[in-house]
Structure formats: C-alpha cells, structure tokens
C-alpha cells in the first residue's frame, strides 16, 4: 500500500500554513523526512520541502527540535 499522504487525501497544493500536514513530513528532530519514507513523488517532495522551509522561517515549525 502506498504511503503517499498527499495523493491519498487528494491534496494538490501544499500550504506552508498547514502545520499539521507538514508535521507528518518532519521527524522528531525537525528534519524533513526523505522521499523513501514519505512515498511522495519528486514534485510533491519539492513542494513539501519548500512549504516546510517557509513555515520554519515564519516560526510555525522549528528548525531544530529536541
């Protein structure tokens, strides 16, 4: 079974304000999880990375945690 959360939920755009969604793509240290584990397409992975970086800059997600 695919683990692609974005495709499963039919999400076309990844918004930096969707912190709960983005939290599923970062590990407990706050680092972005790789494609192997997220199961995203490369386009989706790039969108998630950009959104996480925006969210970090605006203080919605941590740069480092724990």
């Amino acid at each position: 079974m695919s683990t692609n959360i974005l495709t499963q939920n039919d999400i076309q755009h990844v918004d930096y304000k969707d912190v709960d969604l983005l939290k599923q793509f970062i590990n407990p240290h706050g680092r972005v999880v790789g494609r192997k584990r997220t199961g995203l397409t490369s386009k989706q992975q790039r969108a998630v990375e950009a959104a996480v970086k925006r969210a970090r800059f605006l203080g919605l997600l941590p740069y480092v945690a724990r």
Binding site: N9, I11, Q12, H13, V14, D15, Y16, K17, D18, D20, L21, R54, R56, F57, L58, G59, L60, L61, P62, Y63
Partner: protein, 190 residues
Amino acid sequence: MTAEETTLLDADLAVAMPVEDGPAEPRIYELGYHIIPTVKEEDVEKIVSGIRSIIESAGDGSSTGGKAAFIAEGAPSLIRLAYPMSALAVEGEKRVEYDRGYFGWIKFESAVSTASVLMEKLKSDANILRFGIFRTVREDTRAKMKPPTLREVKRTDTIKSSPKRAPTEESAVPVSEEDLEKALRDITTE
C-alpha cells in the same frame, strides 16, 4: 564566425530569453506576517488595515499593473512561535526576543512592483516581527484532510448486542430486596 552570424545568434538569444521589461502581468502573492505580541489586541486591526492600504496604494501607483485585488485573508491570531525571534524594539535600538506573535496572512493579486514596495515598507515597520511574501495560486491551497480515524470498518455481528439488553432488563425487575438480603445472609453464614 562572421559579424552577420553573431548578430543572428544574438537575435536568437533575444527570442529565447524572456522579456523582462515588457508589461508585467499581475501575479498572485501571499503575505504571511507576525505582528509583535506587545501590540494591544484592538490595535492589531489598525496595523492590518495599514498593510492593506500599502498594497492598494502601491497597486494604483505602479506603471505596470492596475489596482491590487485581495483574494483571501486570514485574521491575525496570537500564536506561540516554534522558536524565539528577536527584532528591534519599537523604541530604542535594543533587540527584543519574542516567543509569540499575531500571525495573519493576506492573499492578493498585484503587479511585481507592488510586492517589492510592500517588502520595503514592511521591513521598516517595527510592529512587524517577521513577514514573508510568496508566489502562490488563486485557488484555496489549504489542505482538506480527511480525519485519520475515518476508516472503513466492517460492522458485523459484534454490534448486534442489542438483544442482550432485553433479558437484563427483565431479570433486573423480579429481584426483590428480600431475595437479595437472603442471598447476602447465605454468603455471610458460609
């Protein structure tokens, strides 16, 4: 290579390269901002209307684009920041650390020049803790997640426990206090 060939090559390059000085089409931007938490709650709205007026006035004055149009907006609300941010205090030159801020966002359509004007104005605004202007799309980009607990579970005979209720109700009625006391006495005597 002759001079003629080089000019031809230049012409090709000119076609291939995007024209940057031409009339720019309006773009869709999203501004996300944090207002410093020391601002009173009733004054937050004033600051937001100030930001809106910057976007509107810059849109009017630009030579390339028309009036800026607002698409969507998220009202500022006080949130805890993921890490402390420091910014210059409103009065004085000392940097102050904040662990919370009023986070809000505005999605608007405007010319490229408007975004750069807005960026300059917000940089100099001491009430804005931090901001980001990002290019986005007109559609709503917020994810509509299905609740993760919603799974299709086959509800079979485990749910059919309702017939059980009937006999318990019936059996509860005939037990009188005398019988109970008798039963208790039997237990205590043993």
